[in-house]
């Protein structure tokens, strides 16, 4: 197993190099740089040249790439031009805001999907199952920003039940429980919307898994033994239906830490996704590049975790 993991980690290296080249090349296509994007009229030509030299923007692109890649190897993603602090620190500051909403929606969507999926499989072709199937398709087809906007309009603006956006009430400066309650209220809509968006596909996955399991012989045996239907479903079938879903856990990794750009923008949530969108407007290359690489690493690690979990969950699979 450890050999497998090491080999997979080594295989990531050429992929990451490829990604870094593509990402860097794309960022070089952008006309203008941070200095021109700030549009500061007070800067003299001399000062502009000085600043470019300071940030290494005057070097030829190939050289810039190698400087960036070399620093990345030692965990230095450079200095964010906009935030005036290391990119790693910017990511570390905001990623937890993203994580908190992603984590809650992850927990809720898995619980809901597991139960709805299992019931819908147990009563396949029933009215309930048909409604679930249609709902699943609707949820999978929802444009995230649209449902986010609808939620803000009706629940925050019209009914005034919830805050319109942000993470805390401005000027409240609450501490302790009051702070947690405040953040909780602000989190409510983003979490619900994120859950809604991810629950569809997952439900479908659980339903399929359950359908495969309940057709197997040992389920028939369990029924033949005269076990209660509930015992058959939850003790015998459910556990095995969960197994294939374990591989999905790994794929959740980029979603948990990568931020939801569009939803964070809609709900004005101070997560890493929104910071990324803002860094784009100001051409803050180090942050843009660093964050994109961060996402790529998360994706690759997630894939690896999925494969490993698959081997752990199902002993019939041998990882080589």
């Amino acid at each position: 197993m450890s050999q497998y993991i090491i080999r997979r980690l080594l295989q990531m290296i050429p992929t990451l190099i490829g990604i870094s080249i593509i990402v860097f090349a794309i960022s070089q296509l952008v006309p203008g740089d941070y200095i021109t994007a700030t549009q500061n009229p007070n800067l003299t030509a001399e000062r502009i040249a000085q600043l470019r030299a300071l940030y290494g923007l005057d070097l030829p692109p190939v050289q810039q790439y190698f400087v960036w890649a070399k620093n990345m190897l030692v965990g230095d993603l450079g200095q964010s031009l906009q935030h005036q602090m290391p990119v790693t620190k910017v990511i570390n500051t905001y990623v937890w805001n993203s994580f908190i909403i992603a984590f809650f929606s992850f927990v809720f969507s898995w619980i809901i999907a597991a139960f709805v999926g299992v019931f819908s499989a147990q009563f396949q072709y029933s009215f309930f199952d048909k409604v679930v199937t249609l709902l699943v398709f609707l949820l999978m087809s929802l444009p995230s920003f649209f449902i986010g906007l609808l939620a803000i309009k009706y629940f925050a603006l019209d009914m005034k039940l919830l805050p319109t956006g942000g993470m805390t009430t401005a000027g409240l400066n609450a501490t302790g429980w009051a702070y947690i309650k405040d953040v909780g209220l602000h989190m409510f809509m983003p979490v619900v919307v994120m859950t809604t968006l991810s629950v569809g596909g997952l439900t479908r996955y659980f339903r399929t898994g359950m359908l495969e399991v309940i057709r197997q012989d040992y389920i028939r045996t369990a029924r033949a033994k005269g076990l209660k239907e509930r015992t058959v479903i939850f003790k015998h079938a459910f556990r095995n239906a969960l197994l294939p879903a374990i591989t999905l856990l790994g794929f959740e990794l980029p979603g948990l830490f990568g931020g939801a750009m569009i939803l964070e923008r809609v709900f004005n949530w101070p997560g890493i996704g929104q910071i990324y969108l803002a860094s784009l407007n100001l051409r803050d290359y180090p942050l843009m590049l660093g964050f994109t690489m961060f996402l790529a690493v998360l994706t690759l690690l997630g894939n690896l975790i999925s494969d490993v979990l698959y081997g752990v969950a199902d002993p019939r699979i041998r990882l080589k």
Binding site: V23, M261, M288
Partner: protein, 310 residues
């Protein structure tokens, strides 16, 4: 006793004949027609496409025809979906936006399919070196964070000051290029098994050129999975385009698209007081994408019996 059993044999033979005469495509169509949700999806998509394609011809208004006198009207008998801040008819804009959004989705997917099918076929057919290279590139594209890349490219298009009318072509290209990997992998794995089959030995014996083997004999056998993957791809491409346009980085005004019409919601007054400007395009995206997903799922059940349970 004899008579009925003979009849039974005859009946069976009859049935066998019918089954034998049915082509795989016909079976697929029959299976698809039985899937009620997929049929509903097909009908909805058809209606949607017809309205978007021909609706504007019956509209008394014109694209970008502004009428300040009638600005910000709620839906009424004259303007069925109301008007926006420039007095443009929202219904007409929704229909024209539908043309753009559907076209972008279709063309982007077509680009993905051409790249994906070709690369997948080449990798599966030549194996060894070509396979390693193509699949390595596929790995890179697979781990590439698509949305950040699309957003960056969208910003570059804005910076290069590309005309809005030409911009949609670049957009199709970008969305298409980033979407080929899934199909390439599917086609490759199919070709890997297909190339070992007997009909390929026949093509070898006939001395056919490689390109002919790939495009005339191997790829046609992968058409079912290409159709399924492409259908679901269109749904994804429409969603991607709408998200980018919503952020102002996809299709940009004055060209209307469903996504950039929802962008009006960034204006607080339009957002709160004039929902008729941004809700109809959102509903259109939702309905269209759901319909396409239903069709895609129906096609998967119909064309790929092995994946039926999914």
């Amino acid at each position: 006793m004899e008579q009925p059993s003979l009849n039974r044999t005859e009946q069976l033979q009859e049935q066998l004949k019918i089954v034998k005469a049915e082509s795989p495509w016909r079976i697929a169509i029959r299976r698809f027609a039985k899937n009620r949700l997929a049929l509903i999806g097909l009908i909805i998509l058809f209606i949607m496409a017809i309205i978007c394609a021909f609706g504007p011809l019956f509209s008394p208004y014109e694209l970008n025809q502004t009428n300040i006198k009638d600005k910000n009207l709620a839906p009424n008998a004259q303007y069925w979906l109301g008007t926006d801040k420039l007095g443009r008819d929202v219904l007409l804009r929704v229909m024209l936006a539908g043309r753009i959004s559907l076209t972008v989705g279709l063309v982007a997917t077509a680009i993905s399919v051409v790249i994906g099918a070709t690369l997948g076929a080449v990798a599966g057919f030549y194996r060894r070196f070509a396979d390693t290279i193509i699949m390595r590139i596929a790995d890179i594209f697979l781990a590439l964070p698509t949305l950040p890349i699309l957003i960056t490219l969208g910003a570059i298009l804005s910076d290069l000051k590309i005309e809005p009318s030409k911009r949609i072509y670049f957009l199709m290209l970008i969305i298409g290029i980033l979407g080929w990997v899934g199909l390439a992998r599917l086609v490759r794995s199919q070709i890997l098994t297909l190339r070992e089959q007997e009909f390929m030995q026949a093509t070898e014996a006939l001395g056919l050129r490689d390109s002919r083997k790939i495009f005339r004999h191997l790829l046609p056998n992968t058409v079912p999975i290409i159709i399924v993957s492409a259908t679901l791809g269109v749904a994804g491409a429409i969603l991607t385009e709408s998200a980018l346009s919503f952020l102002g980085l996809g299709v940009v005004p004055p060209t209307p698209s469903w996504g950039n019409m929802i962008n009006a919601a960034n204006n607080l007054i339009d957002f709160r007081k004039r929902p008729w400007i941004w809700i109809p395009p959102g509903v259109c995206i939702l309905v269209t994408v759901t319909a396409i997903n239903l069709i895609g799922d129906g096609l998967r059940d119909a064309l790929d019996p092995k994946m039926k349970s999914r």
